[in-house]
Amino acid sequence: MEALTIDRLPSRQEIDAYGAAAEEIYQSFRPKLEAEHWGKYITIYPVNGDYAISRSHRAALKKMQKKYPGVAFVTNRIGYRAVGHFGGTGASDGKRPKGGRYDQRQN
């Protein structure tokens, strides 16, 4: 897969293919991610599978931009269906795991 660069807005087809590649990477280690990083943001470079995780979308993106300038990434919110919602509730895919770091932080 070739990298999408930030100097142009890709077609819907290109975005969907790029997103699907990132989703495959995310799903390959989803249980571990959700157990350890529920609610954080993961920015993925679909070309080589590299990624960065942070509490904010912007911070995860900045880490990757520093490593790979000029290319576009795919960002997911760990444990959630989507990063943003139009008229939605922001529901996650499943139950937040008990006893993880997220729970400790909240308590």
């Binding site: 999408l4 930030i6 100097d7 807005l9 890709p10 975005i15 969907d16 790029y18 997103g19 990132a22 920015t43 979308h57 912007r58 993106l61 931009q65 576009a72 990434f73 795919v74 960002t75 997911n76 919110r77 269906r81 989507a82 990063v83 943003g84 919602h85 139009f86 008229g87 939605g88 922001g90």
Partner: protein, 130 residues
């Protein structure tokens, strides 16, 4: 304080100035409390400002669709200061301000007088100095 209006007695609207790499422009934007990010703009409007897609993020739409949409970084004039925001590019012609941008503000929608105000909370300036 940012002042807007309730258009046609139904649609809360506010004017926001968004700046990209090559231009800035004021947009009449819908204040959409069902949208939980900061700003949504049409792709063509974003291109005219020189906004570049940093990444693609899953967006859930009210009709159940889940789509990867481009996300850009822009600056918005908010409470008199320029602020970095994430802009979601969509096919919707109407720009939207979401709850991500409203966070930390006091929003009042008066559907009797058709007035909208977005204010900084009382004492916020003092707290910042402290």
């Amino acid at each position: 304080m940012i002042k807007g209006k309730i258009e046609n007695g139904l649609h809360p609207k506010v004017s926001v100035e968004v700046a990209g790499k090559i231009a800035s422009r004021k947009f009449p934007a819908l204040v959409d409390t069902g949208f939980d990010l900061e700003i949504a703009l049409h792709r063509d409007d974003a291109a005219k400002l020189g906004l570049e897609p940093n990444d693609f993020v899953w967006i859930d739409y009210a009709d159940g669709a889940r789509v990867h949409e481009p996300s850009c970084t822009a600056r918005v004039l908010w409470h008199g200061k320029w602020k970095d925001v994430e802009v979601i590019l969509s096919n919707d012609e109407e720009p939207a301000v979401g709850t991500g941008l409203l966070q930390g503000s006091v929003v009042t929608m008066d559907f009797v007088k058709n007035k909208l105000t977005i204010a900084e909370p009382a004492g916020s300036k003092r707290r910042k100095r402290e």
